[in-house]
Subunit: 398 residues, 3 copies
């Protein structure tokens, strides 16, 4: 992309109303206006293009990014680290060790204690229903208050790196991938996407990916199908969000228990395992009661329940039923690939193999999405700031 | 603070004699002259003001800060990371894993091996009496020698992030908090501060906080009361330092076994649990003998001993006896708060709640104190350097 | 060194053909041409001199360096961190946790997922024969392909931080130490170096150090003696490399079972423990079969075998037989020092003590060697780039 084209993107960003993102957090995509969602995509693209032209995107001379991962992470961890580094922020991991950080007083205190020079806090907390997002809001509220009271010199922005409800850095990367694949958001209208459950030999995968996808992709006038076996429902509240979005955007949100129906004629397919919402809620309750035997029994039940749906696999046959037989296959990775990482999984090896390039590309947007989220929350006039970076043209690498 | 006021502070710093801090370490506050202590406060304040004005304090283009935590840490870890980052230094953690680093040959070797491009080494080693500070001196000596022999290109400065004797980054932050609360060091003379033991259900909290406080705060002409139940004495050597300081500064250092006496009319109170020095020494000996049963028994004894002093709690009633009933309540955090983090603890929830703002502020000085310690040890003409930063006015964040 | 001398070194670098290093990896020294080896030494020296003159070597404004240590490391970890930091790259550790990263699909995927903004990947994987180097090639191939397919914006260069075959950052540092000790590469011709086995109470030390040494040092026209007890052979392939190198360079590669013969008249001695190649291969097979009892038995056998060779110690008596009784004693550290870190070890305390300065110096080159490897792989015209840094003269520390 040449300089003129980048300036065009910057011009588009300048015309969007994203002033509420300034000194704010990014917790759920559906809390953001259409302009704010678009601004995030645009800022991500502009940062990407600047870096491609070897232009420094560094807006911070110093500053800390605190990362707190309450669940394992490789790609999101590196995406957050990359985003911070791109902007000039040093990452410092908050390692809670094996101790449970108590709620109440301690959250507020810890949040402030690590934030005296912190510009951004990224948290993954997706293990327990009703907990992760609530925890993030507690942290965000604590540092906001600390900032207002003059304890913190700057307002650290909170970026949700996956909670029990949403996984915005994932769904936004997925969406940007779709937009780029179709040559623009305007081409998505009326297209069909199948977010479907798929079999996995593992247990308890978070709901935040399918929820994030239906919560976001229903905003673009697409026909969004959510397919899963009976009993694998996602959070009713998020389904409600999806229904409302679809109505507003002139698209459809359809739930079905048939993978075939969802794939039929689809332009995009996103087959992925997740745990039933009700079971996850039960698990959270058992955990709260300290009932470890109960958790073990539940785990066994769920694995047995999963095993009854091994036919929910993204095979070549199913792919053949999609639009022109070549729907774009999507996954947040890592996928459970039949015959590669497990004996029976979410996707046939042949399908996965054919789409490896696009899948890696899908993942490649995440660092830029995170960087855009940070930029939009930290900079009052992001379009001007990006124009300045382009103008300055300081090389990322000499 | 406007530019003229910052220049005034820089002018004050220029007039202090702190040339011995250059290429030196910060291990115990009482090894530093009054001018050096003042210079540290001034440099911390100037750095703070520069950052508040969004002026970069970066004096390093590259350089490593090695952190070694032999005990858990959140706030000091982040303070060290923040301080290094503010100055342009990247933190690299030295993780000793589960292996005990042997003394003798290995300390000298490891210290040099991690220091080829290291500008500062921060160490927390507070677990065993007679060990932590000694270890720091061994490391400091090793890298000093490595520098003199031309093995290291630069002299890494050692910052004591808490040892068995002192916790200078804490006590200096506490002190700066006092100075700011009173509107200047000159207003401290004759004021009363109560450093008192308080009950905690936990065991073996380090002595370095009360020792650091009495070792530093006796230098400002205050009446420093050290109160604790019989049997909870601190190191006699540090009490001796406090006595000498008080005499030199025209203040008083008074020990008592009555919390009420210490609180009576106090301007500042610092109630906090610690372990008896004699017990900690016994524990170190048992550890040296590998007598784990002995350690367990000692632990039980100490908890029982603690439990006899649950009345050592900072309550509203006690606070009411302080100067105008509104002494400044201080704590290094986290505090054991009755009814919040434990059933009976160091402080009543109501007291803690009322002072949360000031407590967080107290903690907020630590990153700047550490940055000042690094600056003063690395830069030959710190006042000139800070004037240059102000003059350059490079934004911390664009 | 003054500016004119640095310019002379830059001029020498400019005349070397190292264009194949650009966008390439550093896996085995014997895959590199003589010009490329020389270029690495020169670039390391120039970077060293620039830093000595307080001139910034920062060529990256942002960028990540991924480090993956599958075996414990202190000095190489800090060397890698120092090298990255010197050039402006932030280190992000890839912690595989306790899980074995599966081969095949996953390696390719993980390699790409952590590399979206990654400029360099440093890996230590030295535990199993036939595995470490192969793994590195798999990672390098994956990111190379990712770069070619446009998934990665830049080609991350892979630096071998020790594998089962070679330890190039170590052997290159060792070699630079030799060159500097002799006042130039041209003075090495005809000199004798003894790479000898030495007794250690521990078990299973990697073969990569002796292999790296004989694979590199045979290229300089020296007489390279490899001495070890019968049964402690290194990989035959590497011996073959050494033989070929020696023939090409007009030197000799001689193997012997006598430590005395190797030391006799030597200019340089490098006594160090390692595990027998055949035993390591057996261990790898047992590991592959999950035969943990077999591994334990093998371990016992090997320790017993070692114990039969306690006379393989670098003593004062042996040192006396070297050239003028003052051969340069070398070690990659940490050494097993008799009476200091063990009752009987690789070297007498007196010998080690006398050579501590040179030993630390030997280690000091590693950060610069790694930085040179990164520079040569990332920068198309390294001599021009270094000249620019010298010209700009931006201070490393204000």
């Amino acid at each position: 992309m040449d300089t003129v084209e980048i300036k065009t993107l910057i011009g588009q960003l300048a015309r969007l109303d994203c002033h509420s993102m300034y000194l704010n957090d990014f917790l759920l995509t559906w809390e953001k206006s259409d302009d704010e969602i678009k601004a995030t995509f645009l800022a991500a693209e502009i940062l990407h293009e600047l870096r491609r032209k070897n232009i420094s995107c560094r807006i911070f001379d110093s500053g800390l990014g605190v990362s707190l991962f309450r669940d394992q992470s490789t790609r999101t961890r590196f995406s957050f680290a990359s985003a911070c580094n791109l902007l000039g922020i040093a990452v410092q991991d908050l390692d809670e060790g094996k101790s449970q950080v108590a709620h109440g007083e301690t959250v507020r205190e810890t949040a402030n204690m690590v934030s005296f020079m912190t510009d951004v806090i990224g948290i993954r907390d997706d293990m327990y229903i009703g907990k992760g997002n609530a925890y993030m809001r507690e942290v965000a509220e604590a540092v906001k208050q600390g900032y207002q009271e003059g304890i913190l010199e700057q307002r650290p922005t909170l970026v949700n790196l996956q909670c029990d409800i949403d996984h915005p850095t994932q769904s936004m990367s997925d969406m940007l991938h779709l937009i780029k694949s179709c040559g623009g958001e305007e081409n998505l209208k009326g297209k069909k996407i199948a977010m479907t459950w798929a079999y996995s030999p593992s247990y308890g995968k978070p709901l935040s990916v399918p929820q994030g996808v239906i919560g976001l992709m229903t905003r673009f006038g697409m026909d969004v199908f959510l397919a899963h076996p009976s009993g694998y429902e996602v959070m009713p509240d998020v389904e409600e969000v999806a229904r409302r979005n679809a109505a507003d955007a002139g698209g459809r949100f359809i739930t079905t228990h048939s993978m075939a129906e969802a794939f039929e004629g689809a332009h995009f397919v996103y087959p992925k395992s997740w745990a039933p919402f009700a079971a996850m809620q039960k698990r959270t309750d058992l955990f709260g009661q300290g009932d470890h035997d109960g958790i073990k029994n539940l785990e066994k039940e769920l694995l047995a329940q999963n095993a009854g749906h091994k036919d929910w696999e993204c095979t070549d046959q199913l792919m053949a039923t999609t639009r022109n037989g070549n729907a774009l296959y999507m996954h947040c990775l890592p996928a459970d690939i039949t015959g590669v990482s497990c004996t029976a999984g979410e996707v046939a090896a042949g399908v996965f193999d054919r789409y490896r390039g696009p899948l890696y590309m899908q993942a490649s947007y995440k660092p830029y999405i995170i960087a855009a989220m940070i930029l939009l929350s930290k900079v009052q006039s992001p379009a001007d700031q990006l124009a300045n970076l382009l103008e300055a043209g300081r090389p990322r690498m000499c």
